[in-house]
């Protein structure tokens, strides 16, 4: 793939996906507080990392193996707001799981989004496996796994990086380091400042990037993807970011982090700062921005209505898809 340029169109597209996912995310919380959606996991705060990273991939062709935090990632990868809402509300037509999994358990073969479970870090090895097939089949695809910093304490994180580095697999490990695993701060999770420091133990590059800057994330991911396609093996990217909301709608983050800390990070809200930058740098006019925001609002409304009207799964389907049909 030729190196894509950061054209104004691309910048606008990045912003569009970031703003769209923020709007979808906000709506999910409203639905939850209204008692219409049982649980919400947010990408709120992580949008720059998630969108920046996948825009550097060959979307729909390369594989991504996301985790529950990756709403913005899957939206940028082609899962539509309607599909997201069908999933949130557990509808029959939910393409991720037909209403079987909890919300935020992505998976959409059409777009090469690998199905994911709840057990953290299992996806790291899956990504290595997808990449193993790409190496054997020479299909030119890259795989990207994303995961929180807390999940790097799992053995499978280590097994995946080791396996992928031994076999020089075309895979990118994207760590979204938001400083917390539910309530556990990173310093109780690991005795190092940077997850990226672990790359040395596998002889692969470990790159730290500002996870609130989509351009920077885009660039490092692009480089990692090129390295992967050249057959040089995996890269570990650590994007430093922050989640602005509790771990999930069942969590209350006041118990474990100060409001000042949250406020400090909010000054660097990736959606707001990127929006300002596009206006300041005249990539977008105020009018364009308004039009886009209106479009997003309509999309979110449409998706919500669509999903709410959609039928729930038929109980008779409980026993389906245990084995191939």
């Amino acid at each position: 793939m030729a190196k894509a340029k950061l054209t104004p169109e691309l910048l606008k597209e990045i912003y569009y996906y970031m703003a769209l996912s923020r709007a979808v995310d906000d709506r999910m919380w409203i639905l939850n507080r209204q008692g219409r959606a049982p649980v919400v996991y947010s990408s709120n705060g992580h949008e720059a990392t998630q969108v920046g990273a996948v825009m550097a991939l060959n979307r729909g062709e390369d594989w991504i193996v996301p985790y529950y935090r990756d709403l913005a990632m899957v939206i940028a990868y082609g899962e539509t707001p309607r599909e997201i809402m069908l999933h949130l509300l557990g509808r029959a037509a939910d393409p991720n799981s037909g209403g079987r999994q909890m919300p935020a358990h992505w998976g959409l073969k059409r777009r090469h989004i690998m199905t994911t479970g709840s057990v953290v870090a299992t996806q790291d090895v899956h990504a290595a496996g997808l990449a193993l097939a790409s190496k054997v089949l020479k299909d030119g695809r890259v795989s990207l796994a994303s995961f929180g910093e807390g999940s790097t304490s799992q053995g499978e994180f280590h097994e995946a990086l080791n396996f992928a580095s031994v076999h020089k697999l075309p895979v990118i490990f994207l760590n979204e380091n938001n400083g917390y695993a539910i309530s556990v701060p990173a310093r109780k999770q690991m005795a190092i400042m940077d997850v990226a420091a672990r790359a040395q133990g596998y002889g692969i590059p470990g790159v730290i990037v500002d996870g609130n800057d989509p351009i920077k994330v885009y660039e490092v991911t692009q480089e990692a993807a090129e390295r992967a396609r050249r057959g040089e093996g995996p890269t570990l990217i650590e994007a430093k970011t922050y989640r602005f909301v509790p771990h999930s709608s069942d969590d209350d983050d006041r118990a474990y982090r100060s409001r000042e800390e949250v406020a400090e990070w909010k000054k660097r809200d990736p959606v707001m700062t990127f929006e300002k930058r596009l206006i300041d740098e005249k990539v977008m006019t105020e009018d364009e921005l308004k039009a886009m925001q209106q479009r997003i609002k309509n999309e979110v409304n449409d998706a919500t209505d669509f999903a709410e009207k959609a039928p729930l799964p038929d109980p008779n389907t409980l026993g389906r898809y245990v084995y191939a049909e």
Binding site: G99, G117, L132, L137, A160
Partner: protein
């Protein structure tokens, strides 16, 4: 038709499958140059190259987890776990991922995958090189569990497992590798998974079993024949799915059922088979169902007297069957 050992039948089937389908890859610990610690994959790396038959790092969760990813992205992996006892680090990947992926994605994804692992005792393997682990997996919907008892079945079942669209665990008894020999056709054939096989027809009692124990049961049947007891032997061949129909047929036919497995008694597949018979054929029984199984200790001990006390033998089967026939 060539006479082959159980091990050769597996190796030749792997070779045939690798030749037939370029999407198949084999990997695991020591499967490359070494040809596996039991030499099941001997010569395969040489013939098919390092991309298709490769050594993996010593990490079972990674072996199975990557096989899942590879299966989704167009390969047909046949990972090997060096000993079934070492499958446990990967149990999360097998039970929570491979088994659930089709269901959780509502049919969008599937994981065609054959996990091979040598199992079973009586080979001085002690606690961690002797275990029967099949029932951990037989409990899980989404998985299939195959345990061939003859070289012929080993081939047909392995080919069928490779064709299957779902994850299949294929367990090979270590003591069967070189001790069992039999005729194996050259050409490819499939034995449907979930189909039991009547290995011997009889009228007085039914012995229901699988794997290596089939052979011990056949030997026991010969001894019983001399005593005038006619034993029928049903080889399950897979314990998930179970061939319910054949189980009930034989139970109804003889009215006396002995279930044999090396796996521990409590929670072994024998309990499930007993329940099926009790539910559907209770009034055809002439005696209570009997189970002959490994004792309820965590695993097989090493020291010869202890190992012997644990193992099922054809003598123990003969004795239990005789007892049952007299009831």
């Amino acid at each position: 038709m060539a006479v082959m050992s159980y091990l050769e039948a597996i190796r030749e089937t792997l070779r045939q499958e690798l030749r037939r389908d370029s999407r198949i890859i084999i990997y695991g610990e020591d499967v490359g140059v070494r040809g596996g610690v039991f030499r099941v994959t001997e010569g395969l790396q040489k013939e098919f190259g390092e991309d298709r038959v490769m050594d993996s790092p010593l990490a079972e969760a990674a072996i199975i987890g990557t096989a899942i990813g590879a299966a989704v992205n167009g390969l047909r992996p046949i990972p090997e776990i060096q000993f079934a006892d070492f499958i446990f680090p990967a149990i999360n990947q097998i039970v929570q991922e491979a088994a659930r992926i089709r269901y959780r994605s509502n049919g969008d994804f599937g994981v065609p995958l054959v996990i091979r692992a040598p199992f079973g005792g009586g080979v001085h393997g002690a606690l961690y090189h002797s275990q029967s682990v099949e029932v951990f997996f037989a409990h899980v919907p989404g998985l299939k569990v195959v345990i061939p008892g003859t070289p012929y079945d080993a081939k047909g079942l392995l080919a069928a497992a490779v064709e299957d669209e779902d994850p299949v665990l294929y367990f090979e008894h270590k003591a069967a590798y070189r001790s069992l020999k039999g005729e194996v056709p050259e050409e490819r054939y499939l034995i449907p998974i979930g189909k039991a096989d009547l290995k011997r027809s009889g009228k007085d009692i039914s012995i229901i079993t699988y794997g290596l124990m089939v052979n011990y049961a056949l030997k026991a049947a010969e001894a019983l024949e001399k005593e005038g007891i006619s034993a029928e032997i049903l080889d399950l061949r897979s314990i998930r799915p179970l061939d319910v129909q054949m189980i009930l047929e034989t139970a109804k036919k003889t009215g006396k059922v002995l279930i044999v497995h090396e796996d521990n008694l409590t929670g072994g597949i024998g309990g499930e088979i007993s329940a099926l018979i009790a539910e559907h054929a209770l009034f055809d029984l002439d005696a209570p169902i009997r189970r002959l199984a490994g004792p309820d200790v965590p695993a097989m001990p090493y020291s010869p007297p202890l190992e012997h006390a644990f193992m099922i033998t054809s003598d123990k089967i003969t004795e239990a069957a005789r007892d049952l026939a007299k009831f």
